[in-house]
């Protein structure tokens, strides 16, 4: 009986060990998921009992704030003073859905949380309050982008190449966040359904085109092809490619025609401003699949850009191996066609990398996070994300991009007193639709760049070009940013920039 007593005691003690194991499972392994469960009252209590923190723009404009309601369950609701101008990046916070955009990215700071104690009683019973998130975004530049894009689908990204700070990021389609913050769940559900429904071009308003939609980058990719030559095979820079209207691609009977059909060729220095397709296709074949693929990746292709923003998608360049049996594919890829796809954010980072002496700074929205008493909780520390080239190599590319503006494909777009370096892109898409995705990437001033921009306008007419569609938008953004950085008013710098979204309809032509 004595032995059996020991066994029974052991069994009961083991039951307690099982309880301990299950407690560890719940409190450690499953806790993160349970803490976020929609059924968990703590989630809603934290977000409704106290006001959320404010989101503030670089110039001090309030982009998001919580205001009191007379509803007992939800004593606060969110308002977004700039509405659809910043909806794409700020997102929204509603008691009935998850957070989106920067509201989601910085939710931990924006949700009321225990504050550091200032007295013994606060140490034992911490007070709850939310932090204020200050962004690098300039609402004036958002407005310039919105006006210049004239309601057409597309995306504009404006970076400070020296720091990686996002000065503006605007996409169409956009949406009004107001109905989504309603305390009536039916209004929220209807608005949510609307913004998650894709428009005629397949873009749901909730998905930010600038970070979530990829397009063939077209000739803007030639900056990367040029970098591959400068960094990996400088000898090819002096090789003169034949001046022809088309070239025959290897291992196939395909003919690659220059856009527009006129003959074009020469050295890289001649071909980049004129954007020669046949010559760059041959250059890409000379550089080889390994170097092309590695150079694309050195600019951030096939990686997730470390932007402090949810749901960013990577851009795509095919692997070197995939070209082994597809040399025509390498030729097309070298001019940013076929399967190459990029986000507006990625191409802005390409421009920023060349502008910043070959170093791509980590892109970011965050400037500072401050606690309710004004102490800085977190200050964004600038860092280099990628270094596709050194500064000497970058200096070889800058003049070529300046020549694009002086006498190349972007000639006549910018006022002559602006020292801009740029590259246009016009990617033919759709075999039957016959559309173009029109691009321009640019930075200015070319000698000491303080702004880098990418604009993509997809689903444009077959006859449209990057210069004609994206060019005017980039021009307005360059002027606006340089004025802002010089401390001048952003609006009114140019009479040709539209002052409202509808006035820009003429730029379609």
């Amino acid at each position: 009986m004595s032995r059996r007593l020991s066994i029974l005691a052991t069994i009961i003690l083991l039951l307690f060990v099982v309880a301990a194991a299950q407690a560890a499972n719940i409190q450690f392994f499953r806790a993160p998921a349970l803490d976020k469960s929609v059924l968990n009252p703590r989630v809603n209590e934290a977000s409704t009992e106290y006001p959320r923190g404010e989101i503030v723009a670089g110039d001090g404009t309030i982009l998001a704030q919580s205001v009191p309601t007379n509803n007992a369950t939800y004593p606060y609701k969110r308002i977004y003073p700039l509405g659809d101008l910043t909806a794409g990046i700020i997102g929204f916070s509603s008691p009935y859905t998850q957070e989106w955009g920067l509201e989601a990215e910085y939710n931990n700071y924006l949700t009321a949380h225990a504050q550091p104690a200032e007295s013994f009683e606060q140490l034992l019973s911490p007070t709850s309050a939310a932090d204020t998130v200050t962004l690098t975004v300039e609402p004036a530049l958002q407005k310039v982008a919105q006006n210049a894009m004239g309601g057409q689908d597309g995306a504009a990204v404006v970076l400070d190449p020296r720091t990686g700070a996002v000065l503006a990021m605007y996409s169409n389609p956009t949406y009004s966040p107001t109905p989504l913050t309603s305390l009536d769940p039916n209004i929220v559900a209807a608005a949510y359904k609307k913004i998650t429904t894709p428009d005629a071009h397949g873009f749901p308003p909730l998905g930010l085109v600038a970070t979530q939609q990829t397009f063939p980058p077209g000739s803007t990719f030639k900056v990367i092809t040029t970098t591959a030559a400068v960094v990996g095979n400088p000898a090819l820079l002096t090789k003169a490619y034949p001046v022809k209207a088309f070239t025959r691609l290897p291992h196939s009977n395909k003919l690659l025609f220059n856009d527009g059909g006129q003959p074009c060729g020469g050295t890289v220095a001649v071909m980049l401003p004129a954007s020669c397709d046949p010559g760059y296709a041959l250059l890409g074949l000379d550089l080889g699949a390994n170097l092309m693929s590695a150079t694309a990746d050195s600019f951030g292709y096939d990686q997730l850009p470390p932007l402090d923003f949810p749901n960013v998608v990577p851009s795509y360049f095919p692997t070197a191996a995939s070209f082994a049996a597809n040399l025509p594919g390498l030729a097309y890829s070298s001019i940013g066609q076929e399967n190459v796809r990029a986000t507006a954010l990625q191409q802005a980072l390409v421009a920023a990398g060349v502008a910043n002496g070959g170093e791509i700074m980590t892109p970011h929205f965050l400037s500072t996070i401050t606690s309710p008493d004004g102490t800085v909780v977190k200050r964004y520390q600038n860092s280099v994300w990628l270094s596709p080239m050194n500064s000497n190599q970058a200096e070889q590319i800058v003049p070529l991009m300046e020549n694009v503006v002086r006498y190349g494909t972007a000639a006549g777009i910018f006022p002559s007193d602006l020292d801009v370096a740029a590259k246009t892109g016009t990617a033919q898409t759709g075999n039957s639709l016959k559309n173009t995705d029109d691009w321009m990437i640019a930075f200015a001033p070319a000698t000491d760049p303080t702004v880098a921009i990418a604009v993509v306008m997809p689903f444009q007419a077959e006859s449209a070009f990057g210069a004609t569609v994206a060019g005017p938008i980039v021009k307005c953004l360059v002027e606006g940013t340089l004025a802002l950085q010089a401390g001048l008013p952003v609006s009114g710098t140019s009479t040709t920039c539209p002052s409202s979204p509808t006035a820009a309809a003429g730029s379609k032509a």
Binding site: M1, S6, A9, L15, I26, F28, L34, L39, E121, L124
Partner: protein, 452 residues
Amino acid sequence: MAKSMTSAPFGADQQAVTKASRSTELGLMVLAWIITTAFYVLASLGSQGHMPPRIWLFLTSIVVISLGMHFAIRHYAPHASQVLLPIATLLNGIGYVEIARWNPSNASYQALWFLLSALAVVATLKFVRHVRDLDRYRYLTLAAAIILMLLPLVPHFGENINGARLWVVVGPVSFQPIELAKILLAFFFASYFASNRQLLSTPTQRIGPKLIVPPRTLFPILVAWGFSLAILGAENDIGFALLLFALFISLLWVTTGLKTYVILGMGLFVGGAFVAANYFTQVHSRVAFWLDPWSAAHWAISDQLGLGWFSLAAGGITGTGLGLGQSGNIPFITSDMIFAAVGEELGFLGIILVLCLFMAFVGEGFHIAQRAHSDFVRLAATALTATMGFQAFFIMAGVLRILPFTGITLPFMAYGGSSLIANYIIVAILLRISDENANKIRGGQVLDVALT
């Protein structure tokens, strides 16, 4: 005790032991008071932002009542185990802090129950001088247990609370007689098993090629057990049915060592559970909520288990801190779900503390049982300790969703007078048995006991 004092060779030793012997208990009690008071203060500061208003009354009450028990043990059972009372006091204290946090009016009652429990401890020690004497009242204990269990079924007297008819209401006070009945049943089982040990463990009746125990031997105990379960079935309480079942099977196996009983018992249990889950609505819904508390249909009816898990998750490893948890919205947070409240405010570490205290209690209980010198006393100690261990595990397992939620009380911690008093009586009986053990070892009565 008087006899042992006359034993010359051990007399001198024993005097010294008697004087110094209970300082360990007192030291551990002081530790329990300090921890409980610190928790009480922290919980008040955390939730209210100020010191608890009646902190001195709180501290004085707990110290005076505990010291009362301590000195009663010094007087009535000087050689008893020194760890049981401090463990009970600390578990009681942690539970009280959480009760005071979520239901202050319950807390005042719980303080009263603590006082009555202390009186019950003193009374038990005073009147039960030899646990082996209780063997004489075998069928009386059974009858008393059955009457107690029938009480809630008496019209106008019993009351349904949370679907189970377990309460007896007298004036402003409601009482769960089953808590006391479980002690009486433990004694009945111990008594019956001890006296029929030989018969129960020797298969003599032939059925085909196999020898089995004569059914006649098992008849009374099966009737008693079946009757208990039938009453509980009528009262719709699966918690105590499960507890009695576990106790019965454990004791039967400890007594006889026949695995057949365990296998048979498990078979009966699985069959019974299957039938109950399909045909009794309360059991059926408990099982359904246990398997999936999250579905919208279940959540709308009872969010208790899910909210308990959210509390545990919010607690994490180190807890939210006392007074800072948000378990207040959980139904029955101070009784059935108190383990979740502790898990939130004290975290996994707090749960480990509570588990360790129960493990120490159960370990000490079995230690006392091992040293008992008669089958009856040994089985009684085993039964009481196993009851405590199983009861604690079943309710924790319910909150943790290891088992379906049974809604029995967490010993010492949960709010409830009957539960608290009954568990303190178990402490008193174990103290008495351990005191007897010590005396017998010292007093040279081993032969005497072995002959009985």
